[in-house]
Symmetry: C2
Subunit: 427 residues, 2 copies
């Protein structure tokens, strides 16, 4: 296959242009807070209330006015009249303490009006509707304070924050049942190739590379879907591309984007209107036939059919776009690890190498080794956990520290060690 | 609240007993391979075929018998008769080369029978149904070999491997459309407390701590579900527990497991039959009222109602059980990071401290700081990304390196930095 017809573009330059198109497609949605775990806030969350809303107690005991216990001791206990009892949820107004009165309170109950301290159940003596308090109660003793968790008017979360379980719980606790978040990017994946279409008639798994793209996108937080296989026919590819674009944030094509006679995806993209193909061919290896266009303002990303080339194109062009559409500000969806590189690798070319790397833990460190093999060898991805981008003319020496991008969070889990406190159970 | 009625058990001893019960509940299922990403294999995967199944070509050119090109040069080209052309998917038997014959092949096509090399399209001259080959073709030149990716009979994955996108793609490529995996643990969560039941009538978010437990379990890979709120009535708690156990691998209760008058969960567990409650009270802080029992051979894990105590109990008793039921062998679902600790913390007690920690990146390192605050203060969990287990009588000094367990993979994502090659886009 000749590269001569490609005008290869720097992948960073390509990505800058693609980002511009993608940013126009950022979308938001309001969803039930219950479902917002892992989603990125598209609004600021300000507390509308104090939490807890009133002073309360964190143990079982008697709520009282601390001033009433001045001078109390084992020898000279103070007797207080028990005027009632309060359970969690009962409002403070249920009782108003006068001098010499106390209310029995259960863990989590609010304090009655005028109470400012709680003595433990087991520290008082009970007698004829009275309690004998045997030491002075300090103001605030054994109590929780109104607003000590959250204060009304406080900004709790800024736009762009990825919500975790505790955050969703906190926002629910404010009574806020809906939140505005970044919509999940919707990625439609279209395979191209008559031979693939033919093979898929008898083998439902023939299209497995498209499913790899789907799973990679899903692991990065997208809603991805393989929509089908187009034959080597530009009209048909264009038709299926048009359908795939409906309701999607972007479309990926897999295959048919090189410069052979059967590489008709760029032609099909151009048939769908201006501006059509914007970049075709990247200064990367493998994956140089990748590129993209824009149709109706949405990105159409062309990935090569060889599986490693497809994955390289995916991490150059697709992963960053999923990230931006998801509202992620940092490298959130593509975890990285620092590793000790084993072996020497040099890149004498003007392209960015996408070096597949296998990782393993050894003596508290992570060791990385390049995996070589043809762009069509899926096994090399099975043996890899991530990749190293080696820029043009760069080299990496054995024993040097390098940053490896993991393919996704599953790889991070695979690399993790059992936490120390559970070591006995997981070795 | 008194601790006097608790017989506190070492959390490690408790976990050993609980693990024994949990292991009896490990379940497997056969699912479509398409849905197996992130799941753990419960079978070995052995290749049933060579991939690729035949020798092929990775470029557009002419397949030939290398012996026919012996002595070929620009001055003395060898002429070969082109007897046909082959596209990807056509079987090798389509053509059988005789001496002096060649077949045009497209990228990805198999080689015809007897061919052992491919010359590039642009390196030959075409003339009257013949090609002129201007240099010797070495055997294997420009070809892909049968089985070079995967060989028949090869063990590809062992039982216990967590499948990633590339693995699912590879297994699909073998034509294996179903795989046996560990069933996802099914976790039912029951809240207990009349005041909660009351509050939930007007406030659908009143039960937010149970939803935090649900999300924590989901993030660790379980299928979790809040099933409801039981009042402070042992018969009713027992009834709802019994229902929750149907179809679940385990039940968590939230609240009602301390030693106050309203702490009726242990009684309810015992009502459901032998052995009932096995451990009630752990040598941990916070979270000491946690415990567990077994009903119909399934774990019932009792978590305290204070949110931090609940979370501590969760990571001691629930997270490891989810892990074991999921088939995970290592610390896969609970990522850890090494951090530099800021501040001194000592644990003079006989309990294991569950120290909430906030983490931040600084100069290529992660710094950890303890977050203090009452067991009921949800804000402390908002400010934390993970925890440090400080064993009895242990201490941690400022500037020392410690292992922090992240609450889950979302925290790992939140802590990650943009990969170097994308830095320009995410800062």
């Amino acid at each position: 296959m000749s590269h001569r017809k490609f005008k290869l573009t720097s992948p960073l330059e390509a990505l800058r242009r693609l980002m511009g198109i993608a940013r126009e497609n950022i979308a938001f949605e309001e969803i039930p807070t219950f479902n917002a775990c892992g989603r990125v806030l598209a609004e600021e969350i300000v507390s509308n209330q104090d939490i807890p809303p009133h002073n309360g107690t964190w143990l079982d005991g008697y709520a009282l006015r601390s001033e009433d216990t001045l001078g109390a001791s084992a020898e000279n206990p103070v007797a207080l009249k028990v005027v009632g009892s309060m359970e969690p949820g009962m409002p403070p107004e249920t009782y108003r303490l006068s001098k010499g009165e106390a209310v029995k309170v259960s863990t989590g109950a609010f304090l009655p009006l005028n109470a400012d301290a709680v003595v433990r159940l087991e520290e008082v003596e009970i007698r004829d509707g009275e309690i004998l308090v045997k030491r002075e109660a300090k103001p605030g003793m054994n109590t929780t304070r109104r607003g000590e968790d959250i204060r009304a008017g406080e900004t709790l979360y800024r736009e762009g924050f990825m919500l975790r379980p505790q955050d969703v719980g906190l926002i629910l606790g404010l009574g806020k049942l809906k939140v505005k978040v970044y919509a999940k990017p919707k990625v439609a994946i279209l395979s191209v190739g008559s031979e693939l279409l033919e093979a898929s008639k008898t083998n439902p798994a023939a299209n497995n590379y498209a499913y790899i793209a789907e799973m990679l996108a899903e692991e990065l937080g997208a809603e991805a879907k393989v929509v089908g296989i187009a034959p080597d026919d530009p009209e048909k590819i264009a038709e299926m591309l048009g359908e795939a674009l409906e309701g999607s944030s972007m479309v990926l094509t897999v295959g048919g984007c090189s410069v052979g006679e059967k590489d008709l995806v760029p032609e099909a993209v151009n048939m769908l209107g201006q501006p059509g193909v914007l970049v075709h061919g990247l200064l990367v290896r493998p994956g140089h036939p990748a590129g993209f266009g824009a149709v109706k303002g949405k990105p159409v990303i062309m990935l090569p059919g060889h599986v490693v080339s497809m994955v390289s194109g995916f991490y150059w062009l697709v992963a960053p776009i999923i990230q931006v559409l998801s509202g992620m500000r940092k490298g959130l969806m593509l975890p990285t690890v620092t590793a000790i590189f084993e072996g020497d690798e040099a890149n004498p070319t003007g392209r960015y190498y996408f070096l597949r790397c296998s990782l393993r833990r050894e003596g508290g460190e992570i060791k990385a080794k390049a995996i070589h093999g043809g762009a069509g060898i899926l096994r090399t991805l099975k043996e890899a956990e991530g990749f190293l981008i080696l820029p043009p003319k760069a080299e990496v020496r054995s024993s040097s520290r390098v940053e490896i991008c993991l393919f996704n969070r599953l790889e991070a889990l695979n690399l993790s060690e059992p936490p120390g406190y559970l070591k006995e159970f997981f070795t």
